[in-house]
Symmetry: D2
Subunit: 377 residues, 4 copies
């Protein structure tokens, strides 16, 4: 009998990039076997895609409802153990809900839901059973990010006094300046994209990374968002002042109109004993600063790193980790949790973390709408 | 007869680093000859220091008042043409005032004064005569910064929609966490340092750089400052939301508790056609971003640069420009203005720019004090 | 029926890192299904490992001879189509030989064999049938490396006049200075490791990359190798002067005693119209230099890249490619070749390229042994 | 009486960049006062230039012979103490010779002479008196280069086992491919430029830096030079294998046809305990590598540096040092020597170092001419 976990997938068919990313990640540590799913709302397309993946047609379903119902009829030792949810955002909630109600472990793309209230509901559901539930904030999977988390936890940089997160992209720039495009693209349509574009899509990543790394909760936000045109309803840029307390403050900066930027997520966290800097586009370098010693550059796979970081490096030092590896590490974390192998706190982003993300988006939009006032988080 | 300008210096004696910087800068383009000054309030020290510089004792004065009075008695063709003011901040105002009243060209260290009202007074004085008055925001002197200014002016990145300035240092970190130190150091004493530490000292640099590069005026600020300890009166960290307009926004971030940071001033400016990034600690690289072409890296001294940039490079491409060169370029700009040689707008930071800096500091502190509200600038 | 290629694997069991790398790569583009193999010489370990992978026990074999014999008895539509050879170096030759004789497509780890004469034999065997045969010089799989190859081919940097390849590691440093270690480690034992350590293991990578990128053949080599201790037989450092012609020259530098270096493979290639620089540890940046324009930095996934480069990028620009992606791209190239999908020259390193590598090693060692003389290649 | 040294200058008039560099450097630490010289062979131009510098016409001379004769008639306390030689290469020898014969301290541009035999002659002359004689290998003046020298001296990286120096430029590329230009430019005319272009101009810099940093002497060289065209007599590219001993080897690589490179001098030195990397175009970062600890990045002006490094930093950490500062540090070193202030070995490049440079050029050209054989150095 294989020790691999039986994985089902919802969404991610056709040319979906996120589908490729999750499938590769699932295979990365020999922990999962993809056995079925529902990849496409169109039954024909769905079957064709499943065939391409070489799946048993009996485990390919026309809808997520049928998938869950059919799988529940299978004996426990055959049933899918984990289901990945890669569908458009508004489907995350109904799918995750039904999966939770039936006891499946879930790996769900971010944002968790389209509203904070839905997110809370899922959280409460999960508390009742003991399933693993990961929200794929992918960037937390980098080995050197985990090293940073570990060192902060161990007090290496002391008490945190200043944080600065950036997530700059420029991709919406050609769209936003074209009236017909900005009025038609689904990303800027509140009915399809929710209450926020920039903060909802990427600001929330930066926010999650901050709480993930520091193990601290942001207490208050004050936001100023930019819509650039009066006929555009959703923010495409914004700066959010944050406070952990009156003496520990910082900022989250996000933009989709930082022209020419690709995926520029950066971290800067300063404590009373030291600081860290990290850049997602160069994810294998962790910069560690102190008052009185030379800057140190930590790189993945080296013996001087923590066990939490090293368990996620597959090759010797000097072999760069890319985004596929990062997602693979998250899948690995979920598998360790399910299998009961030694599990590290922070091995994958939890449902609670997904819920915080939804709250963040809503409070940021509210702060901006109310004239840039402080709101509790 | 030498074509060099006759330069006097106030302050900068003893071990003063700023004194070294100005003297080297003055010599960099063979445009100035230092002929005298008052370098030290102690007459003995003053004389001794002047002797070290090889100056004629007749032009070394016991006070700035005596300097001005004595020089005014000399014939115009012998009199100092320019006086540099390198004294502690509170002396800038009285010295600059008397120099302006007597028609001297002035090169003054920043911040211009200790209050906005003093600054305005100097501005009005200068308008009455036609002297050159530079405020040494040194970082504007880098050739590649001037290239950036020039390209923005020529519309290369289009209409500006997003700006992000950072000035992070960590030097106050060991001081601020030591109660006796933080209660005694002059930098944190409002009587000596004015109403602000972090914003006054470095935030103002970032603010000036922003307006220098964009040729735009910030209209509103909203600030959140950090004092870290309740018994510390002055800000040592802060984030300032800024608005040029409702559709062109950004942020200025400054800190003296970014532990381990040395002098990390960075610029990010994005327009609808492109963007720029620049870092002071690596001042010879200008990153130019666009929607659809590879990132370009511009370096000083290359033929593809503008005349404004090239006039300030002394050696061929590949020979790094340092901070001494930057100050030298500012001195050169002042000399060109005085001598009536082809002068570039932006060749040195003007008195008006110094005045703006004072206003910025006062409004930022006020926004923070009033509970993080927007104030006009 | 699945469109996936049926893949068998020789070696790579247990904790083998190379095994992980090949399995992930095989799964990266949904082009392969691992259906069996022989992972371990120990039958028990072999079965156990296959079970962990969830494989059908019928396709798990006790030796490579049994594997080939058994698979040959299966109908063509069930038989393995590709076999990966990940065993210790001395087994590459017998395995690849038998696989070629029986018409299998082969993906073989480098170095191809332990001697040039064995390598030639394989090359001749392959010429008789039409199978795909890849030698996994992994670093050629990076999308931006492929972009470089494409631009050189299209004459972007003109006629090549100067090349400089570096491959520096430091891992052998702690071993080489310990007499008992250097006399016992298999890597420095000529009976196990062949005639060369440094040139054989990494110099050959740099050499292959050079010919891969330029589509030119090195004509002559002159080598100076370093053994560091008289009781050490194999080179652990060396510099190889190379000539394409009398007017197009360069150098390959390799070291295992560059203390502190991890896996520092770099490329610098200069033509009469431009030049390229690339670093493996930062594999997502291609630096393009010209006489008279700013340095350009090309990054994967951008529309300005060639089709050859873009087909190997799985995610949007700004998502870093790591080493797993690089190997995945090579597997993808082999699959395209086998399936007859549009195939790019250079999509995977061929058998001929593996043969060249063996010749290079032998000639370099010979040049050094004969007193640093030029030898034809 | 001023404590400044009385400095005379030969050459460097008109638009000479090297003239600017030396004058700024001389002024950088308030150690020199330029009192006269002969800046231009044309008496009119000479006078005009001196006037621009504001010099006393009595100390401006029509030729270097007149300068020396006239200065020798002045009392010792008025006479020039140091003379800088910035004239074309072929004039270095006669000028330096006469200056030495008359007891002047000398600061001479590199290369020291046009032949090794002339260089030796100067060395013998200097041994007879006790003057300071600096050859301005400018790049040795960077504070962080001095830190590297100091750490190597103190055994931080242990016994040196591998060195790799690079000096790549691309400026001759547009010239060399144009037949009329390459046959007419003085740089490629052996009568004017001596026996070598690339090695003589920049290879020698890399060579000097290597011996400067390691305090070791290269014993043997084997060179392969590239002339690119048969009608071009001088090398414009070359690789030089070097040996300190049979167990400590390396390479010096130099090029003027590395298209697009500006002034890319790099250092890589590895010992049995650690290694260093440094790049001239980014001169404020020293990379320190070890077997088992994170990479460290040392930056100028920090308290963790040595006294030898810190004495040459004028401003706090984070303020970049440029090439002007580097030359200034060399002038300062000479002044400390002359004045008998605490002097550091390595504070300026000595005459002996200049002589080694001439020998290096001659032996490299000879090795190449004789068919790439090893020659003693």
């Amino acid at each position: 009998m294989s020790e691999k976990l039986r994985l089902g997938i919802l969404g991610g068919g056709g040319d979906s990039l996120i589908g490729v990313l999750h499938r590769v990640a699932a295979n990365m540590f020999d922990q999962y076997k993809i056995i079925g799913g529902c990849f496409n709302p169109d039954p024909q397309e769905n079957k064709k895609f499943a065939e391409k993946l070489g799946l048993n047609p009996n485990r390919v379903y026309d809808s997520f409802e049928i998938l869950i119902d059919s799988e529940m009829k299978l004996p426990l030792e055959e049933r899918m153990q984990v289901v990945s949810v890669l569908t458009p955002n508004f489907l995350h909630y109904p799918m995750a809900k039904k999966l939770l109600e039936n006891g499946f472990n879930v790996i769900c793309e971010k944002p968790l839901t389209t509203s904070y209230s839905e997110a809370i509901e899922l959280e409460e559901l999960q508390k009742k059973n003991n399933t693993a539930f990961a929200v794929t904030y992918t960037y937390t999977g980098y080995p050197i990010v985990r090293q940073m988390k570990d060192m902060i936890k161990n007090g290496v940089i002391g008490k945190i006094q200043k944080v600065d997160m950036q997530y700059y992209q420029g991709w919406i720039n050609p769209i936003i300046h074209d009236k017909s495009q900005r009025n038609s693209v689904w990303r800027l349509d509140p009915k399809k994209a929710g209450i926020s574009s920039c903060i909802g899509d990427i600001g929330t990543h930066a926010y999650h990374m901050l709480e993930y790394l520091t193990d601290m909760k942001v207490k208050e936000v004050l936001a100023d968002l930019n819509h650039l045109y009066d006929d555009n309803e959703l923010d495409i840029d914004g700066t959010v002042l944050i406070r952990f307390s009156n003496h520990s403050k910082g900022v989250i900066r996000a933009s989709q109109i930082a022209t020419g930027e690709e995926n520029n997520l950066t971290v800067a966290i300063y404590g009373d004993k030291g600081g860290f800097r990290w850049e997602q586009e160069n994810p294998n370098y962790l910069y560690y600063l102190t008052n009185d010693k030379p800057l140190q550059v930590l790189k993945p796979g080296n013996p001087y790193l923590s066990e939490f970081s090293l368990q996620d490096t597959k090759l010797p030092a000097g072999h760069p980790e890319g985004i596929f590896d990062s997602m693979g590490n998250i899948y690995n974390g979920v598998a360790r949790k399910i299998k009961g192998i030694k599990n590290f706190d922070g091995g994958f982003p939890t449902l609670e973390e997904g819920v915080r993300g939804m709250k963040f988006i809503e409070k940021v939009v509210e702060s901006n709408a109310k004239g840039n006032i402080w709101l509790n988080l």
